[in-house]
Symmetry: C2
Subunit: 112 residues, 2 copies
């Protein structure tokens, strides 16, 4: 209830939280990789390129804390870790598609 009051006071607030949660440099590419079926940090590293492992782990941790990703650890040798999108993460993908469409408008506009 308190959060809803806060949100009512300041309309921008949930939007700011949303934008902050995806503003980390590799967060959107990470969501995209997982959406495309990749699960393991080593796959993200190959898919994204320039990111280093320490930074990747930090971003994954933040996204897990935000409730966008879940992490599953398998008790194997060598230990295996897999990430997947939560329901909230899947809903983010839907919004990102719309933002992607909007980005195309920006690009088309620049050409004119």
């Amino acid at each position: 209830m308190k959060t809803q009051e806060k949100a009512a006071e300041n309309k921008v607030c949930p939007l700011e939280i949303a934008v902050n949660s995806i503003s980390g440099k590799w967060k959107i590419p990470i969501v995209w990789q997982i959406y495309e079926g990749k699960k393991r940090p080593s796959e993200f590293l190959r898919g994204i390129g320039k990111v280093d492992r320490r930074v990747l782990n930090q971003q994954l941790k933040e996204m897990e804390q935000d409730g966008i990703l879940t992490k599953e650890s398998f008790n194997e040798l060598p230990p295996r870790v897999e990430y997947s999108l939560t329901d909230i993460g899947k809903k983010l993908v839907n919004v990102l598609w719309l933002l992607n469409d909007w980005g195309k408008l920006l690009i088309d506009n620049e050409k004119v």
Copy 2:
């Protein structure tokens, strides 16, 4: 056509452009202020608070260049300047509402 080819090569691209174009610290609040009917930089300054005029002007200029805002200058004394949302800017507002809804999910999730 070239841009579409580029977009096809790298799916993240229009999305990155979209996110970059709204990542400037005051850009979303500016869009919101204009959406609520405000037009003049002095009104944005009052509505947003902590932003300084020089930074505000820089952000307005970038958003004008990106095709999100249009600027109209009135030849009066003192000179008057008004900003409004372009069609692309209005479409951004629609996506921001959805991102706002998604932000509420993040907030609700944090409470649990």
